[in-house]
């Protein structure tokens, strides 16, 4: 079981528990002052991208500096995102992302800040609308106009599901994001290395937990077309050239399910990680 399921699952997978999307809309100030307003532009929207670059710089300065930078980054993530051990996200397959859309609201489509920072894609460009903000915090998005230059586009649950399916077809990995203790505030859809969260995990070993599933190939059904291999962003899928079939390294599999949704012969299925003894503690 992943440690968030232990803490916040209430007997289910933690991100399928509606309690982990609930939040109050208002907080009274300690001393109510009539007419008091919040400042605009309190946070650096690209803070985590800067963090990742700082870690790369530290790596060049040596292992001790890198160790320090790593600890700082983990603490920073926990402090600002309410996570534990620097794990503020988790990979989810399409079917679970669709279920997440049913148990959270509002659902606000927004531009991806990672793709803006790493690839320079315009926020107002429809191709960059790959993030989904969840929860009542999205109602206050105008507090950070520089983060949301592309605005927020409110979607229905069904529109969100269709949007998720479209992004899945394009080959984007779905993952959740925590924005406070016991609060899931976003579904991220991105790819490596544009995605800061995936980069943090694959290059530095923290930030993003593996998903609750692992992929398995049915060799009787696989025809060796190789489509799944092209979609895997974690290096878990390779072609077995002798058999001419897809082969999955389950230790490397993140359970994103991109291979499963693309397989034309339904030869790949997702199994629960906790039911495979050798993988149940591999997050």
């Amino acid at each position: 079981m992943c440690h968030y399921c232990e803490m916040w699952g209430d007997g289910t997978i933690w991100y399928l528990n509606p309690r982990n999307y609930a939040r109050h809309m208002y907080t009274l100030p300690k001393e109510a002052k009539p007419g008091a307003t919040k400042a605009v532009g309190e946070a650096d929207p690209a803070g985590y991208i800067n963090l990742e670059r700082a870690m790369v710089d530290a790596l060049e300065r040596g292992p001790e500096e890198y160790e320090k930078a790593m600890k700082f980054a983990r603490d920073m993530v926990d402090m600002t995102q309410g996570s534990v051990g620097g794990w503020m996200g988790q990979v989810v397959p399409l079917r679970d992302a669709e279920r997440m859309a049913e148990i959270s609201n509002p659902l606000g489509l927004i531009a991806c800040i990672c793709r803006k920072a790493m690839l320079g894609i315009e926020e107002r460009c429809p191709e960059n609308m790959t993030c989904m903000g969840l929860g009542v915090g999205m109602l206050k998005w105008e507090r950070w106009p520089e983060r949301y230059k592309g605005g927020v586009h409110w979607l229905t649950i069904e529109e969100t599901k269709q949007w998720l399916r479209d992004l899945d077809t394009k080959g984007f990995v779905h993952s959740l994001m925590m924005f406070g203790p016991r609060f899931i505030g976003g579904i991220c859809n991105c790819d490596y290395p544009a995605c800061d969260a995936l980069t943090m995990r694959l290059d530095h070993g923290f930030n993003m937990l593996k998903g609750h599933h692992v992929a398995m190939v049915d060799y009787d059904l696989c025809n060796g077309c190789g489509i799944c291999v092209q979609r895997c962003q974690f290096g878990a899928l390779k072609m077995n050239v002798t058999l001419d079939k897809a082969n999955i390294d389950q230790m490397r599999c993140f359970g994103c399910g991109l291979c499963e949704t693309a397989c034309p012969r339904k030869a790949i299925s997702l199994k629960e990680r906790i039911k495979i003894p050798s993988l149940q503690e591999v997050w």
């Binding site: 509606p18 939040r23 109050h24 907080t27 002052k33 894609i121 206050k140 998005w141 105008e142």
Partner: protein, 204 residues
Amino acid sequence: MSTRSEEEAKKTPYELYIAPRPFSFELDSEMLVLLRKDCDPPLIVEKFAAEISGKKQDDVDTIAKKVFGKYGEDWMRRTLKLGEEYPDRTYEILKEAVDKTGEMKFPLVLQRFIEIAYLGTQQFRILPIVENWAKRLVYRVKDCYIYKLEVEKCGQEVAGSLPCRYACLAACKTALDGLGLDAAVEMEATMVKDGACQFALNRI
């Protein structure tokens, strides 16, 4: 990943950001003062204490239902009125989202008014929301001011029977009626047994 739409987007400058009015995302403090003035918990608890004075224990529940039930209705009606008269930017954006999607009136608009009702009359700064999704709105009331006043004015035995629950249940029902929503109101936990009252509004 250069696309035509991206190039077109780059040709036009970013629009100058103009802060909307009202810009406060938090509740209007004047509204909260007015709500507190009109629905002050000490007044209703004193009224209840006076009404049950000298009455048999069997009659207490009937009186509670009448006194607190009426209070709950009036409290939420006043909340619905003031909440519309004193909008904030959070509410304006919520209304935009509801208009755009046709969804989210349940639970989010309902949640806003329930939060106003409690934050305007209680002593806590946050109303804990346990669930808020398309089928359920659940909230918890801990450190309840009315319950504390009941213990002081009516004694532990009367307070332990939670006569004030009728106020919360009636307020939820009034909010649903006022917003034109259908949901079943249920009390899932109580101050006495669980340390906090918990109310669930389940979408029918």
